[in-house]
């Protein structure tokens, strides 16, 4: 999926707020560091992308690694061929008994016609794009999305917010169906950072979510429970030939 970035809507209104001034706050920081003026670091920052921390490399079997590590986090992986995508999603929805859906599949060619064919089969597709906020998405039984990238290293899905993707799609419904193509899979987190290199913060999506498992808690006596606030189940449709 292409990255589409643009300027933020507006800076927060330039009202006066209580609190300290930037100058006196920073003066205390500099004093603690033992200097009068803010200076750029004289030594370079440590190199982050080193062999010792890199957990996956381009030459690895990324499809296999992604699948295995996604399963470890509690997500379920359904390997498919591109031609079977729509059929597989339909089958899963039937099995789940889902009726009402929120969908954000961007420009994924394999998912063209997905909404229409689901509609024809009698599913209700919520028009989230024309109602502001997240509220309308709370009624959905499942959210269907593609991903901006996926990480083999950890079995992670990267779901960003943009015009075609609400923040809520992968978060609010009790089930998340994610479409991941082989070509979406990057070896390591460092490869995703490299892709963002040079893009100023103001042009990044306002929300980038690295999803590594279904929503979980172990707060009550350490017992693992899925589906606290986010989806209880994440199904990954792993398109192996695209």
């Amino acid at each position: 999926m292409s990255q589409s970035f643009s300027q933020p809507e507006s800076a927060a209104a330039s009202q006066d707020y209580p609190g300290e001034s930037r100058e006196s706050f920073m003066a205390r920081v500099r004093q603690a560091l033992g200097r009068q003026q803010t200076i750029a670091p004289t030594e370079p920052a440590p190199v982050a992308d080193q062999d010792i921390v890199r957990l996956a490399r381009p030459e690895d079997d990324l499809l296999d690694m992604f699948e295995k590590r996604a399963i470890v986090t509690g997500m379920k992986v359904i390997p498919i061929k591109a031609g079977d995508l729509i059929k597989s999603i339909y089958q899963k929805l039937e099995e789940l008994g889902a009726k009402k859906l929120v969908v954000g599949v961007g420009s994924l060619p394999q998912a063209l016609g997905l909404k229409d064919s689901l509609r024809r089969k009698g599913f209700e597709i919520v028009d989230w794009a024309s109602s502001p906020g997240l509220e309308v998405q709370f009624g959905a039984d499942a959210g269907i999305t593609d991903v901006h990238a996926a990480l083999a290293e950890t079995g992670t899905l990267i779901c960003n917010s943009d015009a075609g993707h609400s923040r809520g799609l992968s978060l609010v419904p009790p089930v998340h169906l994610a479409i991941v193509r082989k070509s979406d899979i990057l070896p390591d987190m460092f490869d995703y950072w490299a892709r963002l290199k040079g893009i100023p913060g103001s042009q990044l999506p306002s929300s980038m979510a690295f999803i590594t498992g279904p929503s979980k808690t172990a707060d009550i006596e350490g017992q693992l429970i899925k589906g606290v606030h986010g989806p209880k189940d994440v199904f990954i449709f792993l398109v192996q030939d695209a």
Binding site: G19, E20, M189, F190, M208, I220, G230
Partner: protein, 512 residues
């Protein structure tokens, strides 16, 4: 309890639900100067608490020891060193990276605020809430809000504020306070949750964790679309992009920062990393050290409010940078302490934490790292027991993913206590006598002779009978100030012959 009048069987409507107005503040903010004795004694004799805390910490500690080498192989230490040096670099140049963060976050549409202390921080919150006529505020887990007592402050102006992290929600309902950085209700069991839910929410009693979770889910989901303001903490700030990063498992963090119209992130200034790549290294060690996950379920990187072409997200995003004595720690002598990424690994590894639990530390930050930063944040004279609440076994240092040399700094703080004359008079007298004895051969021998006889006499051993080394007994109670030592274990009596005696005889025999 405000809703105590509700009868079981008539569940409270989530939108008219009001949480109890106490938050167990006294647990994290006791009378100062704080004396650890009462709470640590109570905790160490509370079998149930011992069990909960031991179960919770030891499973995580074991899991961490497995997943770190599984991921990084023989390089675990090098990776910890790298993660530590990244945080250290960011702290060494915190002025530069803070300026960069402020500029880039502002360019992305964030309003950045500065708070010297708790009072200022809360004033900023109240002001944002008032300006926007905020009625309902949802909060994801944040330790700094505990530091500043934000919730009572918001309630004071009529803003209903609900904790959304499951553990924190339960603690809020039960007038309790978190006792672990990552597992806030490690000290409670399921029946306490069931009772609190019945009492405060009016739901029928259950102690099945799945059902309790479902009840909390339903309550909080009804509130998300109605909330005006979301509060989050921040695990990291990224200078390069002006982003705030939160690492959560439940999904409430993403909801609190996405559903309400206003998002206010409240972050200690030390959470800085230079770039997204550096963030990557820390993410790789954070969840593994904390809960043995490769990453938390959700790593949410937020850079400014909703863009024009985006569909949802907050219209306003504020970041409050908090000092609250952090610049005191930032001085060179103690800077390393600020590397902490709040993973909780040192708590899980610590034999003292396991024995006394989090509340015994009498502060927001507990465990080994709490014993360092609490005295720094709130005065060494107020918390002089904490640096001593450690056996200096070094398990914390070994567990720390950013290699904070916790034992070294505990010793440094102990030295500060002595230097600034904050120690107990009896301690001073004892250590002086000790030093004098060790410096004098005569006094040392006399002391040894005396101690051997006293102890053996008390244990019913005699000096002459049996083998000098194996004929030993156990003392189950030492006298006076040494009583504490034998409260939990017996003391072996010294052998009848001292090492010096043995050596003399050995040398004599050799020359024969």
């Amino acid at each position: 309890m405000t809703t105590a009048s509700t009868q079981p069987g008539t569940p409270v409507d989530p939108l008219s639900f009001t949480p109890p107005s106490h938050h167990g503040e006294h647990l994290l903010d006791p009378q100062l100067p704080y004396d650890i004795t009462a709470r640590s004694t109570a905790a160490s004799t509370n079998i149930q608490l011992q069990q909960f805390v031991a179960n919770g910490t030891m499973s995580k500690d074991t899991a961490r020891k497995q997943v770190m080498p599984a991921a990084f192989g023989e390089h675990v230490d090098d990776v910890r060193y790298l993660a530590g040096s990244i945080k250290q670099h960011a702290l060494d140049h915190l002025d530069y990276y803070l300026e960069q963060f402020i500029e880039r976050a502002t360019a992305a549409g964030v309003k950045v605020h500065f708070a010297a202390d708790s009072k200022q921080a809360n004033a900023i919150y109240l002001d944002i809430a008032k300006k926007n006529n905020v009625k309902l505020c949802l909060k994801s887990k944040s330790m700094v809000t505990e530091e500043t007592h934000l919730l009572p402050a918001l309630e004071g102006i009529g803003v209903k504020t609900i904790e959304t992290d499951l553990g924190e929600f339960i603690l809020q309902l039960d007038n309790d306070a978190p006792s672990h950085l990552v597992a806030p209700m490690i000290h409670k069991d399921r029946t306490a949750v069931g009772r609190a839910f019945t009492r405060e929410l009016g739901v029928p009693y259950t102690d099945v964790p799945e059902e309790l979770t479902q009840i909390a889910r339903n309550y909080l989901r009804a509130m998300y679309p109605k909330a005006d303001m979301g509060i989050s903490g921040g695990n990291f700030l990224v200078a390069e992009t002006g982003s705030v990063v939160i690492c959560t498992n439940e999904g409430n963090g993403r909801l609190c920062t996405s559903a309400p119209r206003i998002h206010v992130a409240f972050v200690g200034m030390e959470k800085m990393v230079p770039t997204l790549s550096h963030l990557g290294v820390l993410l790789k060690v954070l969840a593994r050290s904390s809960t043995a996950q490769p990453l938390t379920c959700y790593t949410h990187i937020m850079t400014g409010p909703k863009r024009r072409h985006e569909h949802d997200g907050p219209e306003e995003m504020h970041v409050i940078l908090l000092d609250n004595q952090r610049t005191q720690i930032l001085r060179e002598e103690t800077r390393e302490m600020l590397r902490c990424i709040r993973c909780g690994a040192c708590l899980n590894a610590c034999p003292v934490y396991r024995k006394i639990g989090g509340h015994a530390y009498g502060a927001v930050y507990s465990g080994p790292i709490g014993s360092l930063i609490t005295p720094m944040l709130r005065g060494l004279d107020n918390y002089k027991d904490l640096p001593n609440a450690s056996s200096l076994c070094g398990a914390c240092y070994e567990a720390c993913p950013v290699k904070i040399n916790i034992p070294k700094y505990l010793v440094q703080l102990r030295a500060d206590i002595v230097k600034s004359n904050l120690g107990k008079k009896a301690d001073k007298w004892f250590f002086r006598t000790w030093a004098m004895t060790l410096k004098s051969s005569l006094l040392y021998r006399m002391g040894g002779w005396f101690q051997t006889r006293m102890f053996r006499l008390q244990a019913g051993n005699t000096i002459s009978k049996g083998d000098a080394y194996s004929a030993r007994g156990w003392l189950d109670q030492l006298p006076g100030p040494f009583k504490g030592w034998t409260d939990q274990r017996d003391m072996p009596t010294p052998p009848a012959k001292s090492f010096r005696q043995w050596w003399h005889e050995h040398e004599k025999n050799k020359n024969r």
